[in-house]
């Protein structure tokens, strides 16, 4: 009699693990930069569809995006150096984004032509997508160093629109699928799991643990957390806020890119599928108050499970509605506290 709940639980955890990767990236990014990245789901889409292009022997449109972004990077740096009158550094500063752009293009071209194994295509796509993280930070966020969370939020809405539209231009409206990493099934009681489900669960669990270790135990991780807690203090201790911001973008986009290649063999992917995945990650992040990574991860897993249960027991048409209604109790609790003014208190 517990067969169905158990099956639903595992299906829910599979999706929830993906949302957890999103939620964790969002929480870290928000803590370090104050940016709520609405466009996070688009990176899920880009990494998956990039693999699809590479496997089909085509040059993925995403590499043009990366090249354009890196060249913009060079332009922004050139403007900055000109403003600060530092011609000496300019040559070096401008050279590297251009070289990186050329290298990225060459590597992608090669990867699409050569008969590389699946795993190599995945590696190239994840790397390419991840590189879009620091580029987004440099081109979109860094020019406005002290804007409010709201301004950043609206800017990433712009990024979401642009990336969705570009996704449509690069890959068209049709959904793509990817083969599972390994094929086969495992039976565990009533639960029948595809190998890909296991890959997804195990790899995302490993990533979460690695990240927990990185943030808690390594110097770079501690620097990131310091930048999140106190920007001025971090700067006084020699931590660059810009570099911390860039690292946080890289990290969250990397998590999204991995999520993309993990989930696509199970659910397919099209230019507009990423957004909803990102939004459900948000629900998890909001449950964690955008500040507590552990609660955010648990919340995101809960979102995945709640989604499967409501799809089965209530209505599959309303499952998204129910998932977004999940944040109401969270908001209720927050709004019942008399914390209204304390944010201003020193």
């Amino acid at each position: 009699m517990f067969d169905i709940p158990l099956i639903l639980l595992f299906e829910g955890l599979t999706n929830g693990a993906i949302y957890a990767l999103m939620a964790l990236g969002l929480v870290v990014l928000y803590a370090v930069t104050g940016v709520i990245n609405v466009a996070i789901g688009e990176f899920v889409m880009i990494s998956a569809l990039t693999v699809a292009s590479l496997r089909a022997g085509a040059v993925p449109g995403s590499v043009y995006l990366l090249v354009a972004g890196l060249l913009l990077w060079a332009v922004y740096d050139a403007l900055r150096f000109a403003r600060e009158r530092r011609a000496g550094r300019a040559a070096l500063g401008l050279a590297w984004p251009v070289v990186a752009a050329a290298a990225a293009y060459a590597a992608t071209l090669l990867a699409s032509r050569a008969a590389l194994p699946y795993v190599a295509h995945i590696a190239v796509a994840v790397a390419l997508t991840t590189a879009l993280g620091p580029v987004s930070y440099r081109v979109i966020i860094q020019p406005l160093p002290r804007a409010s969370a709201l301004v950043y939020l609206i800017m990433t809405i712009g990024l979401h629109l642009a990336l969705t539209g570009l996704g449509l231009a690069f890959w068209g409206p049709q959904p793509y699928t990817l083969p599972p990493f390994t094929s086969g099934r495992v039976r565990w009681g009533p639960v029948l799991l595809d190998h890909q489900d296991l890959w997804l669960l195990v790899l995302s669990a490993l990533l979460l643990v690695a990240l927990w270790w990185f943030l808690g135990r390594t110097l770079h991780g501690k620097a990131l957390r310091a930048a999140a807690v106190n920007k001025l203090g971090a700067r006084l201790s020699g931590i660059s806020v810009v570099r911390a911001g860039s690292a946080a973008f890289t990290l969250s986009v990397f998590l999204a890119a991995v999520a993309g290649v993990l989930i696509t063999p199970i659910t397919k992917m099209a230019y507009d599928f990423g957004f909803l995945i990102g939004l459900k990650g948000f629900v998890g992040a909001i449950i964690g108050g955008l500040s507590n990574p552990a609660v955010a991860v648990v919340g995101a897993l809960g979102v995945g499970v709640a989604e499967q249960f409501s799809a089965f027991y209530v209505s599959s048409a309303y499952k998204d509605v129910l998932v977004f209604l999940l944040i109401i109790p969270v908001l209720l609790v927050r709004s019942l506290q008399h914390v209204d003014f304390e944010e201003h208190v020193e």
Binding site: I36, I140, P143, L144, R146, A147, S148, A149, L150, V151, L153, I154, M155, I157, G158, L159, H160, L161, A162, L163, T164, G165, L166, L168, A169, G172, P173, L279, F282, V283, I286, L290, S315, A317, Y318, D320, V321, F324, L325, I327, I328, L331, L332, R334, S335, H338, D340, F341, E342, E343, H344, V345, E346
Partner: protein
């Protein structure tokens, strides 16, 4: 969107506040041109042009709501289209299924939408800006999800209207149906112009000032009597009502509606329009909407040919436009153009306006302010521990103590910013222990902030005027209809008087962010005086002041005492406190250490020890 850069100089480098008749005429000319275009368009435009003009009008209504909500009040909504959808579907369903008259159904749509907004507001409006944005986004998705999936009622994705077997009767005027874009134009633009008039009136009124004060943080507003939650709710409901009106107009233009009207993409479109035009300008709503609609029309022609495939590629352009506008023209089109035009002269203050009535003073038998064993801890740290002291009527009391003694916490406990864990606070004979800041402010307590809490982009006069909020009465409706003008003139005259009182009367129209710190502290004092306070709380008013500024401040406080104002002064600067205070209360480690006259306190060994450390014998 707060975070304006500090120390912005006036455009063109002219003295702030200077304006020319040219500036006034240029703006009048532009307004006249707008009127001519709006009035003349139905006579010259073809059907396609009229269709676009109607779309612009209907979108503008929603965007005007966003200007109120996001631009003025600083509350972001990513779900505005959901209210459009609620208004549109409520009207359509009531008119089609229940035979309600079309006009009434539009009203019912607005009422329904406002009701939904009220429910949502109850549980979301306390959230900080970006949380609110995400919450409204989620609400929007929920409402769209219902419209798409509740097929028996809404018709689902195929839409609602004659084509799907639900005949919606048209709007009628004197028995004739209003058909076609030419007739509809009058209706749509009539609604837009009326809304513009109402919103412009509102923003010049008392309630408008309260709405604007929310942007820089709710605590200053609350400290002068603004019921922040209520004003937020009113603004949220007005924005929802405008969206629902737009929705009703959508329903009767085509007599057919689809759930996309309520979609997240539509909400984002409204946000883009508002950002392009300028979130802090009602004219920006018109400009942003026009640019968006016309540009989208062009892009939809050009881009698919460029890509070689049909699709909504214009979103790429709008995505980048949104980013670029925020990076390079954050205030949007209209404010940008406005700053390039010659400035217009400020509306002069009518100094002959009758003074505002003074606050009623209750005579209290005991002390004016009384703290009784007040305790407050944060986690394990007890910031204030069983603190008791009193402030008598007409006294100047200094509250001092070393860093971390709990002075600021005590201050926040008195003003209602924080609530004590135990103990009581009494003010003017009333228990105020569990009152909110705006309730305490209405009893006649006014304060300044150690960390300045002013609106940097508003004029000195506007900043000070907020102080009179709890002394004035005109409400939402009189604000919308422009009926509170007489009271406004009195407020402006009073604000000028208070600016002069603190020595800032020379340029009342300068922006607050053009003043140095010392003058900003005086501006805070002027705003507090504007409340005609029974008790004035000054939170480290001398911090960061230069010597002569301190002398000015001391002279001001002495004058106030002579006029009978009771003052509680939290201050680090011993020189200032010793000079001014009749009595001094010393705190250390959250507890009362000593109290008495300045001379007594100075001699108290415990005080000396707390400040200088134990003497080594």
């Amino acid at each position: 969107m707060s975070g304006a850069a500090p120390q912005r100089t006036a455009p063109g480098g002219r003295a702030p506040g200077a304006g020319s008749a040219l500036g006034l005429w240029v703006r009048r000319g532009l307004l006249a041109a707008l009127v001519v275009v709006v009035a003349g368009l139905p006579f010259v435009a073809g059907p396609f042009g009229l269709r676009l003009a109607n779309l612009i009008g209907m979108y503008s209504l929603v965007v005007l709501g966003l200007v109120l909500l996001t631009g003025y009040a600083g509350l972001a909504s990513l779900g505005q289209a959901a209210f459009v959808g609620t208004g549109a579907y409520t009207a359509a369903i009531l008119a089609s299924r229940f035979g309600l008259s079309p006009w009434l159904s539009v009203v019912a749509g607005i009422v329904g939408s406002v009701f939904v907004a009220w429910l949502i507001g109850l549980i979301t409006l306390r959230l900080k800006g970006h949380f609110l944005a995400l919450a409204t986004l989620a609400w929007g998705l929920v409402i769209t999800g219902v419209l798409r999936n509740w097929i028996p009622v809404t018709g689902g994705n195929t839409g609602f209207g004659s084509a799907t077997g639900n005949r919606i009767p048209p709007l009628t005027f004197l028995g004739d149906p209003i058909r076609g874009d030419r007739e509809y134009y009058v209706l749509v633009w009539g609604a837009v112009l009326l809304t513009l008039w109402l919103v412009t009136n509102l923003m010049r009124s008392r309630v408008g000032r309260a709405i604007k004060s929310l942007r820089t943080g709710s605590i200053a507003a609350a400290s002068f009597g603004v019921d922040v939650q209520r004003v937020k709710m009113i603004t949220f409901l007005m924005a929802a009502a405008l969206a629902a009106l737009s929705g009703g107009l959508h329903t009767y233009r085509e007599l057919f509606i689809v759930p996309n009207l309520a979609s997240l993409n539509a909400s984002i479109d409204y946000l883009i329009m508002a950002v392009i035009g300028g979130l802090t300008s009602v004219w920006g709503a018109l400009a942003g909407t026009s640019v968006f609609v016309l540009l989208k029309e062009q892009l939809q022609q050009v881009l698919p040919r460029l890509v070689g495939r049909t699709g909504n590629y214009e979103i790429v352009a709008f995505g980048f436009i949104l980013i670029l506008v925020l990076q390079y023209a954050r205030r949007g089109l209209v404010p940008m153009v406005d700053s390039l035009l010659p400035r217009q002269p400020e509306r002069p203050v009518r100094e002959d306006a009758p003074p505002l009535p003074p606050r009623e003073r209750v005579s209290v038998a005991g002390p004016l302010l009384e703290l009784e064993a007040v305790t407050r801890s944060f986690g394990g740290l007890t910031a204030v521990n069983r603190l008791s002291f009193t402030v008598g009527q007409g006294e100047v009391v200094g509250l001092i103590g070393p860093n971390g003694a709990g002075k600021t916490t005590a201050f926040n406990l008195i003003t209602g910013v924080l609530w004590p864990d135990s103990g009581r606070v009494r003010f003017a004979g009333r228990d105020i222990t569990r009152l909110h800041p705006h309730q305490i402010a209405r009893l006649g307590l006014a304060r300044t902030f150690q960390h300045l809490n002013l609106s940097p982009s508003l004029s000195l006069l506007e900043n000070v005027a907020l102080g009179a909020y709890s002394r004035t009465r005109s409400g939402l409706w009189s604000g919308l209809l422009g009926l509170g003008r007489a009271e406004e003139e009195r407020v402006r005259a009073e604000a000028l008087r208070q600016l002069r009182r603190v020595g800032l009367g020379d340029d009342p129209f300068a922006r607050a962010d053009s003043l140095p710190l010392g003058k900003l502290r005086l501006l805070e004092v002027a705003r507090a005086l504007m409340a005609d306070p029974v008790l004035l709380l000054l939170d480290e008013p001398a911090a960061g002041l230069r010597r002569h500024e301190k002398e000015d401040l001391k002279a001001l406080v002495r004058r106030l005492r002579d006029e009978g104002v009771t003052v509680l002064l939290v201050e680090h600067d011993m020189d200032v406190v010793m000079d001014l205070a009749d009595r001094i209360v010393v705190m250390n480690h959250g507890e009362l250490l000593a109290s008495g006259t300045p001379a007594e306190v100075r001699r108290d060994p415990a005080v000396v020890e707390a400040y200088l450390g134990r003497e080594v014998a």
